[in-house]
């Protein structure tokens, strides 16, 4: 059966060149970077080279890059680290309603510790309004954390504008840029961020490795203890092969970004057009300020998980904001924050294109989906088409 992977926002297939870069560090150059012998020095060099690659890709300095086990850890470190380090200055944090749980839940946990958190709402496209951020600032505010691009609906936030506001008010600004890297330009100075999180497996790198950019001079409290690795910000034996993979992956992902993004946009727009041709569907997320590979539509009268299962049976890997796919009872907090009603949120379908996808993939999805929709709608007690047929 044809396999069409359209879940690149969840994770991506590792680039062959990334694997090739990692392999020697998985097999031969296995030293611990903390060791002073040749095996250790070789590993240390690999780690520092990768740090330079990451820094170069972000327009940062190598010493501003801290390797973590992924973006979840990077987000936790950034937000908790600043909150704790700055708690004498104030106790107010600002974030948005559509952040990843690694940001939202960290803020909620801090709220239990006595911090006050303002969760700025988003518009119908899932976008944060810089004016709303500015309006939320109090004299107690110490940190603003707003994501660069949303993982579910692909909406790109005006981060540079928010960064400008934060600078004006002398606030530390963090951005979860996980979905941006490799898809849109990410430069820490242009975006005016002080902290920025990323995760390699979202841009054709390995799982289990990420990084936090920490602008020099920005002090973080640590809450993991152990060795002196990563200037004590992230103790533990460095995951050398994965760090090497991250370095290579970000280099590759940013080197041909424009061309790849342009290619993805064409596929994306064809896919969106085809999906919206199906009766009672709607696009979720911003029509233009949107990640080049993100497609998110709601298909009325159908629940997302049954749609995913049906697509999977046809070889198509997709995702949904349906509650039944998240382990929670409510559908995606992102879709709800955008004002979708429950039915529309439950019926969301996310197809995220990546570098491997072709026009044939898009055509295939557009070929198999209508039948699936029809079948599921025929089963649905809320589909009005059923009643029409009955009468």
């Amino acid at each position: 059966m044809r396999k069409v992977y359209l879940d690149n926002a969840a994770t991506t297939r590792m680039h062959e060149e990334v694997f090739a870069a990692m392999k020697p560090y998985l097999l031969e150059h296995y030293g611990n970077p903390s060791s002073i012998h040749s095996f250790g020095r070789q590993a240390r060099k690999a780690v520092e080279d990768a740090r330079e690659q990451v820094a170069a890709a972000l327009g940062a300095e190598p010493r501003e890059i801290v390797f973590t086990s992924g973006a979840t850890e990077a987000n936790n470190l950034a937000i908790r680290g600043i909150a704790r380090a700055q708690k004498n200055k104030g106790n107010h944090l600002i974030t948005s309603a559509v952040e990843h749980h690694a940001v939202l839940d960290t803020c909620k946990a801090l709220a239990k510790e006595g911090f006050t958190v303002t969760v700025v709402p988003v518009d119908e496209y899932g976008m944060v309004d810089p004016a709303a951020v500015e309006a939320a600032i109090t004299d107690q505010t110490i940190l603003v954390s707003i994501m660069l691009a949303n993982n579910e609906v692909g909406t790109i936030n005006p981060i540079a504008e928010i960064g400008e506001i934060c600078r004006k008010h002398n606030l530390i600004f963090h951005s979860d840029a996980v979905q941006g890297i490799g898809n849109i330009p990410v430069n820490v100075d242009n975006l005016k961020v002080d902290l920025l999180s990323l995760s390699a497996h979202k841009f054709y790198g390995p799982k289990g490795i990420g990084a936090l950019y920490v602008r020099k001079g920005t002090k973080l409290d640590v809450f993991n203890f152990g060795g002196v690795q990563e200037r004590k910000l992230r103790p533990g034996t460095e995951n050398v092969p994965a760090i090497v993979g991250l370095g290579k992956a970000i280099e590759l992902a940013t080197s041909d970004l424009e061309a790849e993004a342009a290619k993805l946009r064409v596929l994306r727009d064809k896919l969106i057009k085809g999906l919206l041709a199906i009766e009672a569907t709607k696009l979720n997320g911003h029509p233009e300020k949107r990640l080049p590979g993100n497609v998110n539509v709601s298909i009325q009268y159908i629940e997302g998980e049954s749609l995913l299962l049906s697509l999977d049976l046809k070889g198509v890997a997709a995702s949904s904001g349906s509650a039944c796919t998240s382990g929670s009872l409510d559908p995606s907090h992102v879709l709800m924050a955008m004002g979708l009603d429950h039915q529309t949120a439950h019926g969301s379908l996310r197809l995220t294109l990546g570098r491997d996808n072709t026009e044939e993939d898009v055509d295939y999805v557009l070929e198999v989906l209508p039948e699936i929709v029809e079948r599921l709608r025929a089963m649905s007690p809320i589909y009005t088409g059923n009643e029409i047929k009955r009468s």
Binding site: L309, S322, C324, P381
Partner: protein
């Protein structure tokens, strides 16, 4: 994630549809949690469930449990149908993922609502 039996019922659901002039109709669920099941019953003079149909909006588990219960009930008596529990439906399917045991496994509740509806309708008929 799902057993083969679940996937079989999901892929080839039995007894999808509606029954015109059903003797009993039962619904459970709501849009908030994303599962709505409706069951239609046709019962003969001997209190045997002659026909049963369902429509479900919901995840794979919701559709499979709806389908499975229609098979379990067809040909049974009303009294027997009252005995069927959600757990039995899950067992019939070879188990469900833990997260699916609650919301998505409401088929027996839908059936009970349909049986109640049936009895209410009968009671109404008698008093007519």
């Amino acid at each position: 994630m799902y057993t083969e039996k679940v996937m079989d019922h999901f892929t080839n659901p039995r007894n999808v549809g509606e029954i015109e002039n059903a003797d009993g109709i039962g619904e459970v669920g709501n849009m908030k949690c994303g599962d709505i099941m409706r069951i239609y019953l046709k019962v003969n003079e001997d209190d045997i469930i002659e026909d049963i149909k369902f429509r479900t909006f919901g995840c794979g588990a919701a559709i499979a449990t709806s389908s499975a219960i229609t098979e379990m009930v067809k040909g049974k008596t009303i009294a027997e149908a009252w005995e069927i529990s959600n757990i039995q439906v899950a067992e019939e399917l070879g188990g469900l993922p833990p997260s699916k045991m609650h919301c998505s496994n409401l088929a027996a509740d839908a059936l009970k609502n349909a049986l109640r509806d049936l009895e209410e309708k009968r009671a109404a008929q008698k008093t007519e």
